[in-house]
């Protein structure tokens, strides 16, 4: 059983606190940098990547690419500016994808 790591990717103020918990923290200045970092993390053995919604908003295709892969799991978390509702929308989209309609 290989050891996997957990990464937190987002703007500096949002992710700094996770460092205290012992997670690998990758602050990114802008969406472009976050995108590059995400690809690098996906290549390494990160099983879970927490990504702030603020950056996720501009990274749709990149996230979709890893959606059907077993690793990494890209999980959206609200950044310091609050939730944009993208995470919830993704849950909704999964339901629509599976059922064909939003039934919840």
């Amino acid at each position: 059983m290989a050891n996997y790591k957990i990464a937190v990717l987002g703007d500096k103020d949002s992710v700094l606190g996770f460092k205290a918990l012992g997670l690998s923290v990758f602050p990114a200045e802008n969406v472009e940098e976050a995108r590059r970092t995400l690809h690098e993390l996906a290549k390494e053995n990160y099983a879970v990547i927490y990504l702030t919604e603020q950056y996720a908003a501009g990274m749709g295709p990149e996230i979709a690419r890893y959606k059907d892969e077993l690793t990494p799991a890209i999980i959206l978390i609200p950044g310091k500016d609050g939730s944009l509702g993208i995470g919830m929308a993704n849950v909704k989209r999964a339901v629509e994808r599976a059922v064909g309609a939003d039934i919840l």
Partner: protein, 237 residues
């Protein structure tokens, strides 16, 4: 009639019948799989929604405390306090099989079990709000990991359901009717050939019979004439 491109042979018919049987069985199995996946998926997705709500609220609270902490401390000081974590987290991943979909299960291990180890700084130079923020984060972290597991599971299940549903529909509305059509076409063609054969045989038999009668009649006429007689109407013999 749709374009059917099959050879109307008995061999092809047997092959198609076999395939139809397999397809119907496959369709039934896939349908069962889809239903069961759907059941599992609904459970997972409900949990996913609840958990996401909880995590988002928890994180917002933690971010709030952080904002207060960063207001009370200089950003350099804050960064410095958190720069070298004492705690480290390792993640183990095993897989669970839900209806042939592999979903991850995470087990995380912290390097040290001491709950106080999450504060990687001395308390003298930092504000109390930072403690609160770090504490809130570590409280929500357990749920975050669970969320990662469940959200990935729901994504993978959704993908599998979509795939299965497509297969079920393709079998139900395209493949099976097509094969039934082809089977019907072949069996009708074969029946038609059979009938054509029978008719041909009957015709040949008729022709042979006619020839035989004709020959006989000529022989009769010749025999009567040989005895000096004369047939009024040779047809009536």
């Amino acid at each position: 009639m749709p374009a059917i491109n099959v050879n109307p042979t008995r061999q092809e018919l047997t092959r198609l019948k076999g395939r139809l049987k397999t397809s119907i069985r496959g369709h039934k199995l896939l349908k069962d799989k889809r239903d069961e996946l759907m059941k599992q998926f609904m459970d997972v997705v409900r949990e996913n929604r609840a958990l996401r709500k909880k995590v988002e609220e928890g994180l917002m609270r933690a971010h709030g405390s952080f904002t207060v902490a960063s207001a009370l401390m200089s950003s350099e000081m804050l960064e410095q306090s958190l720069l070298y974590p004492k705690q480290a987290v390792e993640l183990d991943m095993t897989f669970q099989n839900i209806m042939s979909v592999n979903v991850p299960i995470y087990h995380f291990r912290t390097k040290s079990d001491d709950a106080g180890e999450i504060y990687p700084y001395g308390f003298a130079a930092t504000s109390g709000e930072l403690d609160g923020a770090v504490d809130a984060l570590s409280g929500v972290f357990q749920d975050m990991l669970k969320l990662a597991e469940i959200e990935k599971t729901s994504q993978l299940l959704a993908e599998e359901i979509e795939k299965t549903r497509r297969r079920v529909n393709a079998l139900e509305y395209v493949k099976i009717p097509q094969m039934q059509e082809a089977i019907k076409y072949i069996s009708m063609k074969l029946d038609e050939n059979e009938r054509a054969n029978t008719i041909r045989l009957m015709k040949v038999k008729d022709m042979l019979l006619k020839e035989a009668i004709e020959g006989k009649r000529e022989a009769d006429v010749r025999a009567v004439e040989a005895f000096g007689g004369h047939l009024e109407n040779p047809e009536s013999v």
